[in-house]
Amino acid sequence: MTSDKSAANGHEPHTGGLRVKRGLAEMLKGGVIMDVVTPEHAKIAEDAGAVAVMALERVPSDIRRDGGVARMSDVSLIKEIIAAVTIPVMAKARIGHFVEAQVLQSLGVDYIDESEVLTPADEEHHIDKWQFDVPFVCGARDLGEALRRIGEGAAMIRTKGEAGTGNVVEAVRHMRAVQGGIRRIASMRPEELMAEAKHLGAPFDLIQEIHRTGKLPVVNFSAGGIATPADAALMMQLGCDGNFVGSGIFKSTNPEAYAKAIVAATTFFDKPEVIAEVSAGLGKAMPGLDVASMPAGELLATRGW
């Protein structure tokens, strides 16, 4: 990556480099990042053991219900959420809306999610994320999309799933697509890599890197439809590094209990007896939607490319 600023040497502190951007995501591994719309929600999330909160105006299921244009959150609300908790605060910018991203960086948010959950501002171009000191997380449905975002400077990936549905099926599909794509490249002969780069529409140097290391160069969380502790553990067993949970917590009948249980299930993802224990007596999960019967125009995952 020619744009990596980490290479600088010396005793002067160096900020905004690739290692500190990707590094914060490394520190979030094994954890749950929760969507919150108020400082009170943020406190509940922190109390429950969230590793970070995502500040947004409405949780995805409400955005889905209300329709209209969904934008970056109200600035005062983001400030209040930053003041309310000690853990990192993320916030969403519209795809391609680099000015929303500039504003979020100036507010001191710790990570920006260039998110398909908001209404895209640009249908052709994502944000040039190399221009920022704040790191970005971006959604992806498959390996090619993940690598295009990393090529643009994303320091963390999350699979898109289908936000606000309470249905894990798309999250599973996208995680399998990314993991399968990685396994495929790892097993290739070197002369096959350029054709694969062409096929995926992905930067060649990143394809070479995956061929060499057998893994994505950045952390990959799962997102979009995780509604229960078992969903969270499923995504971890499928190979994600951690979970974003949106509507799943604050649209359940008992957000505190759901938040704690999903945190525990993410840590003890391979211990069914723990998942069973934390799943007992939780009350009702958020209502779910059948993604297969939704009209194409209502799908969020197809926003961005």
């Binding site: 980490s6 040497n9 010396g10 005793h11 002067e12 502190p13 160096h14 900020t15 905004g16 480099g17 290692r19 500190v20 590094g23 914060l24 490394e26 520190m27 979030l28 591994k29 094994g30 954890g31 922190e46 429950a48 053991g49 969230a50 590793v51 970070a52 000690t86 853990i87 990192p88 960086q105 001191g108 948010v109 710790d110 990570y111 000191d133 704040v134 790191p135 704690k260 945190v263 525990a264 840590t267 003890f268």
Partner: protein, 201 residues
């Protein structure tokens, strides 16, 4: 001679990087999430991550008391960033209910170097490592505001301690596991092995 078996507290955080670094030094390393797994290791790494999350999971999954007992029994530790916060005597700007194990004689301020956009890397000389500086990566790092008489300061940056040695323990504000430089993990293994009178690898 027995070989040192090192655990990495794996409730949350950059566990994999520590396991890789330890194994790269030839150590036997395993993740630790349960009291039984804790019992099976000779020394422990407390990794980077979110200290509030680890603190809550330590309490809920009945690891806090076994951990305190092992520490009281002299189990050597390497703690980085969030791990350092857990190991400290006093936490400033934290949550009132978060665990301070009280082993390292230091007072730390959470996120004392600022938010993520202030996260940085710098070359820092570390006593005990010789002349070549260590490339230290600070991510929403804790700042050591005060080090008591039991804590030996082995590196400082901008007037504050950033690395502490205390008996068999090493505590760091930064992340050696995110670099390819194995010297601090090696130092930890050597000191732990010496304290326990076993072989490091």
């Amino acid at each position: 001679m027995t070989i040192l078996r090192v655990g990495v507290l794996a409730l949350q955080g950059d566990v994999r990087e520590h396991l890789t670094a330890l194994r790269g030094c030839g150590a036997e390393a395993a993740s630790v999430r349960t009291p039984a797994e804790l019992e099976s290791v000779d020394a422990l790494v407390l990794p980077g991550g979110e200290s509030t999350t680890m603190s809550r999971l330590l309490q809920v999954f009945d690891l806090e008391m076994p951990l305190r007992e092992r520490l009281a029994g002299g189990m050597p530790t390497l703690s980085t960033c969030a791990g350092l916060i857990l190991m400290s005597r006093e936490v400033l700007d934290g949550r009132p209910d978060q665990i301070a194990l009280g082993v390292l004689d230091i007072s730390v301020r959470r996120n004392g170097y600022g938010r993520q956009v202030e996260s940085f890397e710098a070359d820092i000389p570390v006593a005990l490592l010789g002349v070549a500086p260590f490339r230290a990566i600070f991510i929403r790092a804790p700042r050591i505001e005060h080090a008591g008489p039991d804590a030996e300061v082995v590196a400082s940056f901008g007037g504050n301690p950033v690395a502490i040695a205390q008996g068999p323990h090493l505590g760091l504000c930064f992340h050696p596991e995110m670099t390819d430089d194995p010297r601090l993990h090696q130092l930890f293994l050597e000191r732990a092995a010496a304290a326990l009178e076993v072989s490091a690898a």
